[in-house]
């Protein structure tokens, strides 16, 4: 019995010791190591994750998306978790549009990983497949990948730096990442419960660009076709609104396919396109009267350092003639009336030799030497667009100043910045750089430029039938590695559309056209005309048609593009084949009393061109109703309410 009591006491004692040890250990764990064990437990059961912030969208001026952010996925697969290892790989390969062999090969490993990224639509069918783990990742998406690619740039995924506008606007577009905590089980799998957000991600701002998607497409396509047709090395197009400095379209194409924003970063000698700036200095400084004439030297003028040649020689020329036929000789003679400082000052005031300040990571400033660094032929060279280098953007901005009554504006690509809640953070206002010339001088310069597109001018091939254009051609030798390359030329054309109250500045540059002529009049000028015709025919292009309608009738009538014997027509659907037989003269229908729209439709159906004066109902036409007129000829319709 005593033995039993001893045994019980021993067991009791042992249990007491164990209990004490347990208490001591508990006290140690809870009181002294509590914080550490708590942290370890938390770490084992929870995970901090960074919540990516969606990048803001890039939109064109009409809200058309240019760059968007969308959720995409990387796909991980644990082969041992698959319910149906025989059939699942095939379903996975089909869903991800991957070769079955590749999927099967990956699944032979411990864990298969497909980086993709795959869109939500692609992985939709895999969401319920056991063993498939989707890792969401935000991805930049460009609905039209070729849209102004060199200028828009890329958002720089995969550790790369952003480029182009994506880079310049990065601080606006990139949002602020958030943070969250998710719960995990013992095996490290996340619970199917919402993450606890420590900080919500703040999406980036949306940026509305000044670009007009329609005009941009017109510019890109026209340039591409022109380069193919002319077998040129490359080219640029810049279109901007002279009243605001907003760049409406910018395209740069290279024959080798390299995407680079050459309209902003490649400076070249503009040639005769720059003559108008010297003309501006001559007029502004009252160094010339528009009636002053100089000899054309029969097209060849030997100077001390060089011999100048005119491609369109005239016996004598005034300033208007010099601009119209792009006379090097006359400009060389006129420029002697200017001081070096005055000539330099005007070129500088037009923005040559300085960056325009557009929002872009890189922009060439071009080159314009100080007068102290000039050599003897420099003033003449500058007057005809040599010894100065500019970018197409600088030319567009400078011509914009002529269009904008003499005020140079800073060109811009950003129209509006909107916060994620729709609040407008920034809206572009025209930013004047300086007044270059007075409104009167600017008007005279526009008249000089309008002469270029008139009959006998070097830019006549760009003339439109119902709208006047003010423009200048420029064909200059191409510099390669510091030397003029034999037989290589840059053809450029700068135009204001329309000549009165311009709404559009268009600059076209074609590098080294090989097929056909290399002159700007036959290369860059027709491209400009084609683009303007497409812009006019498009309903969405950012043109003020109310103002255009007021300008068009006053502009007179140019030559018809078609053979006058063929009437322009509206093609019905499905189209009937064109008989194209020369149509005989026909009587002008009586449209008096009809609405303008009805009258225009009827006259078009009868094969006439129409110009409208006034508004309201039709009062009369000229030629009058009943008179015979050739098909394709112009009928002026007078509304009963004069303009």
């Amino acid at each position: 019995m005593a033995k039993l009591t001893t045994r019980v006491s021993f067991i009791e004692g042992s249990l007491g010791v164990l209990l004490l040890a347990l208490l001591v250990r508990s006290a140690q764990v809870q009181l002294f190591q509590g914080a550490r064990w708590s942290a370890e437990a938390k770490q084992a059961r929870t995970e901090h994750v960074v919540l990516e912030a969606p990048r803001g969208a890039l939109l064109d001026r009409h809200g058309t998306p240019i760059a968007l952010t969308q959720e995409t996925y990387h796909v991980g697969i644990a082969p041992n978790e698959l319910r149906d290892p025989d059939h699942d790989p095939e379903a996975i390969a089909r869903a991800l549009h991957l070769p079955f062999m590749k999927v099967e090969d990956e699944l032979s490993r411990h864990y298969a990983y497909f980086a993709g990224p795959f869109t939500a639509g692609t992985v939709q069918g895999l969401r319920d497949v056991r063993g498939v783990h989707l890792e969401p990742v935000l991805n930049r998406f460009y609905p039209s990948p070729d849209f102004a690619r060199a200028f828009i740039g890329r958002a720089g995924e995969g550790g790369q730096k952003p480029s182009g506008l994506e880079r310049t606007l990065d601080t606006l577009l990139a949002g602020t990442p958030g943070a969250a905590v998710v719960l995990k089980d013992r095996a490290g799998r996340e619970y199917d419960s919402p993450a606890r957000r420590l900080q919500s991600p703040v999406p980036g701002n949306d940026v509305e660009l000044t670009l007009d998607a329609e005009l941009q497409e017109i510019a890109q396509r026209s340039l591409r076709l022109a380069l193919e047709k002319m077998d040129a090395d490359g080219g640029d197009v810049v279109m901007l609104d002279p009243a605001t400095g907003e760049v409406l379209a910018v395209a740069s194409e290279r024959r080798d396919g390299v995407s680079r924003p050459s309209a902003f970063i490649d400076a070249y000698e503009p040639g005769s396109v720059a003559k108008i700036f010297t003309a501006g200095a001559l007029i502004a400084d009252h160094r010339i009267s528009l009636t002053d004439r100089v000899s054309g030297e029969n097209g060849k003028y030997k100077m001390q350092d060089r011999t100048l040649v005119d491609d369109h020689p005239l016996p004598t020329l005034n300033l208007a003639d010099a601009i119209r036929v792009s006379s090097n000789i006359a400009m060389a003679k006129f420029v002697t009336r200017l001081d070096h400082d005055d000539e330099y000052g005007m070129l500088r005031d037009f923005g040559l030799g300085t960056p325009t300040g557009i929002e872009f990571p890189a922009e060439a400033s071009g080159r314009l030497a100080l007068p102290k660094d000039w050599s003897r032929p420099t003033p003449t060279s500058l007057a005809i667009g040599y010894e100065v280098s500019v970018t197409p953007l600088q030319i567009a901005a400078a011509y914009g100043a002529i269009a904008n009554d003499g005020v140079l504006l800073e060109p811009t690509l950003v129209r509006e910045v909107r916060a994620p809640n729709g609040e407008i953070l920034y809206r572009h206002q025209p930013e004047p750089v300086r007044r270059v010339v007075s409104p009167e001088v600017a008007r005279e310069l526009r008249q000089l430029l309008a002469g270029v597109v008139s009959s006998g001018g070097t830019g006549a091939s760009a003339a439109l039938a119902t709208f006047t254009l003010a423009a200048k051609t420029g064909t200059s030798r191409q510099v390669v590695n510091g030397h003029y390359k034999a037989g290589a030329y840059n053809a450029s054309f700068a135009a204001l559309f329309p000549a009165d109250h311009p709404q559009l500045v268009v600059v076209v540059k074609v590098e080294n056209p090989r097929k056909g002529s290399y002159f700007a009049a036959e290369t860059a000028a027709p491209v400009t005309r084609a683009m303007l015709e497409q812009a006019l025919a498009s309903r969405t292009v950012a043109l003020d048609r109310a103002r255009l309608s007021a300008v068009a009738p006053a502009a007179g009538v140019g030559e018809l593009e078609e053979d006058p014997g063929v009437a322009p027509y509206v093609v019905s659907w499905p189209p009937a084949h064109d008989t194209a037989a020369p149509a005989p003269p026909r009587p002008v229908p009586d449209v008096s009393g009809r609405t303008l729209r009805d009258a225009v439709r009827l006259l078009h159906r009868r094969g006439f061109h129409v110009v409208i004066k006034g508004w309201g109902n039709v009062q009369k036409t000229w030629p009058a109703a009943g008179a015979e007129a050739a098909a394709g000829s112009l009928v002026t319709v007078f509304g009963d309410t004069p303009q």
């Binding site: 969308q70 959720e71 869109t119 939500a120 419960s193 709208f467 018809l560």
Partner: protein, 95 residues
């Protein structure tokens, strides 16, 4: 009636079961809602992805590089500027 000890035990047990049941029910509901939320989020993501894809296809189909050659093949052409008549808008600002 005087509550005896076993009654109190029953009451406390019942209270515990009710409390535990409500916790389980709430958690079950929360998980169900979380699952539905995830599914909705996935659907939204999928729909956005499809919208983006359709947008891309529409832009491509409506682009000049596609439309112009097709129109030309049908005998259509771009109008010259002389064939475009912009009708003047009445000035409504005056008296």
């Amino acid at each position: 009636m005087v509550l005896k000890g076993r009654h109190w035990v029953m009451i406390w047990l019942l209270a515990f079961l009710v409390a535990a049941g409500s916790v389980v029910a709430r958690q079950t509901a929360a998980l169900r809602i979380a699952r539905a939320l995830n599914q909705t989020r996935d659907s939204l993501s999928s729909l956005q992805s499809r919208r983006a894809e359709y947008e891309r296809r529409i832009r491509q189909a409506a682009s000049r590089s596609v439309l112009v050659p097709r129109a030309q093949a049908l005998g259509l052409r771009l109008p010259a500027d002389s064939e475009i008549v912009i009708q003047p808008v009445p000035d409504t600002s005056g008296p």
